[in-house]
Amino acid sequence: MSLLNVEKLSTSFHTRNGVVRAVRDVSFQLERGETLGIVGESGSGKSVTCYSIMGLIPQPPGRIEGGRAMFDGVDLLACSHGKLNSIRGRRISMIFQDAMTSLNPFLRIGEQLIEPLLIHEKINRNDAIARALHMLNAAGIPEAETRMNMYPHEFSGGMRQRVMIAMALITKPDLLIADEPTTALDVTVQAQILELIQKMQRELGMAVILVSHDLGVVSGFCDRVMVMYAGQVMESARTDDLFYDTKHPYTRALRQSIPALQMKGQELHTIPGQPPDMLCPPPGCPFAPRCERAVDYCAREEIRLLEVAPNHATACLRVQKEKLAV
């Protein structure tokens, strides 16, 4: 059985101007110890997918319209609040993009670190502090004992992100959801943090969902990658297949528009137009208006994710039809 099995998750936001279908029919599985990357541009629904699983969507205006998220036999979308709270922070942890706003500025780091332990485990304070010290050391924070008594503002951005990781992993979760954990950091610090998450993953054997807008970050980090656009999954495959045997025109266009260091200074490939207005998304495939390969039926038929090769699914209607014709 998979560790996490998300089926047909749909999340909407009911705003004054209309309904925004931020996530539509998203399904994926995650095995124990596996790393899944969710890639997409802003507004593609990658964060909302994670927030929905974690029960962090404010309702209203948000609403989970349907679907299931089975985590080890429990449907996270339907279970009681108490049950959810016993899983969150203990078996599933989350780290966010901006460590400064995720940490409490009034509490010393030590207090914040031991809080999940005191809540979820029968443990006395001194043991909890010992575990926290161990965790800070493992997260690469020097002089951990002094640091325990410091406040978040006394840390640099990279150090704060290390504290967040230590806090998220102190309960030894089975799943870590990392929502753009390095986007606010400089590249040299980003490299340190990604290395740290990988090291901790090896030690704890946990599964990781890494949300990122950066295909480069995902390429070195994930076993599998899911590409999202306008609230839907466009392509999902093993990382190598996604890069070397791309099946969706959006993934290809995204890859080509990244200014990679290895390329010569030629004109960059651009995707014409802009992502659709999510208040009134176009009918059919949401990428069709910008797609080089779009044909008449792309703007008419509803898309769905179909496997076109082993463990390789795409939502591209053309690719699916060509595959069926063969």
Binding site: D186, V189, A191, S219, F243
Partner: protein, 333 residues
């Protein structure tokens, strides 16, 4: 302009921000040396990429060159004219020659002005243009930056981030400047939109002979647009050279680490390459380390690195310059 002098010539530029303590009887306790002795020169029509991590002083350098911040010391000469001496109305008039594009197109446009008004205002700041000529000129400007003519009557909030950045670029170009400083112009944009703006800036520079100082934290973006790249660390330039030589044959230990940290969107290459992990964070510019500012994180540092302040000096035959006293040991022939 003296013969042989570059189009833009920056010499020993320093921008220090005083740090004061106490409210009533405040006294100066130190200075943030945001820019600390930078020399640069740009040829006409050249694109220089300025890269560095947050806090390295790259934005302050850009703003100081444009006299938005007054330098503590040093000179900035544009076509032989000294800019740092200019004040008041003279400076205002001189600004027609140099303009800036900012990172956040949501903050840099007046939300209560239509695109037409915003562009007309910029155009008329420096020149008297008959009203009847305005629509034609503004229309041409819009076309140049790739916006539809219907955009004229609309307000900034009606546009996406990428289109807003096009408006900001059009506004900077409205006065027909010779030098454009673009400070992280694509950092707030999604990758698919980023590429459009990078291509636009490259094309404008080519077609209009515009000299461009392109500031970014993203080496891959800079590599794509720049002729030459300057790498900054803690207020100083540590390496300067052609875009290909800096990316493919980095000389300074910091540049090497920076390049090795940029993720490659290619799983096999990413798995194969050796990554140089730098220890620690960049130090505070309030209290920079003595000697070479990079030595506490440098893998090649030796005792004398904390004593000698390195100078940017030519290295090798390719015209590259590096500021490292161990450059020869770090880059064996």
């Amino acid at each position: 302009m003296n013969p042989g002098e570059a189009f833009l010539e920056v010499r020993d530029l320093k921008t220090h921000f005083p740090v004061n303590k106490g409210l009533l009887f405040s006294r100066r306790v130190g200075a943030v040396k945001a820019v600390d002795g930078v020399s640069l020169s740009l040829r006409q029509g050249e694109i220089l990429g300025l890269v560095g991590e947050s806090g390295c002083g790259k934005s302050t350098l850009g703003r100081t060159i444009l006299q938005l911040i007054h330098p503590t010391a040093g000179t900035v000469r544009l076509e032989g004219r000294e800019l740092t001496d200019l004040r008041g109305a003279t400076l205002r008039r001189a600004r027609a020659a140099f303009q800036m594009v900012f990172q956040d197109p949501f903050a840099s446009l007046n939300p209560r002005m239509t695109v037409f008004d915003a562009l007309a205002e910029a155009m008329q700041t420096h020149r008297r243009i008959p009203r009847e000529e305005l629509p034609g000129r503004i229309g041409a400007l819009l076309e140049k930056v790739g916006l539809p003519p219907q955009a004229l009557r609309r307000y900034p909030h009606e546009f996406s981030g990428g289109q807003r950045q096009r408006i900001a670029i059009a506004r900077a170009l409205a006065v027909e400047p010779k030098l454009l400083v673009a400070d992280e112009p694509v950092s707030a944009l999604d990758v698919s939109i980023q590429a459009q703006i990078i291509n636009l800036l490259a094309r404008l520079s080519r077609e209009m002979g515009l000299t461009l100082l392109f500031i970014s934290h993203d080496l891959s973006v800079v590599k794509h647009i720049a002729d030459r790249i300057a790498v900054m660390y803690l207020g100083r330039i540590v390496e300067l050279g052609s875009a290909t030589s800096v990316i493919e044959k980095p000389l300074h230990p910091y540049t090497k680490a920076l390049i090795s940290a940029v993720p490659i969107p290619d799983p096999r290459r990413e798995a194969q390459r050796a990554r140089i992990l730098l220890p620690g964070d960049p130090p505070s510019p309030l209290n920079p380390p003595p000697g070479c500012p990079f030595h506490p994180r440098c893998l090649y540092a030796e005792p004398r690195c904390s004593e000698i302040v390195p100078k940017l000096e030519p290295f090798g035959a390719g015209g590259a310059e590096v500021s490292c006293i161990r450059a020869k040991d770090v880059n064996p022939p």
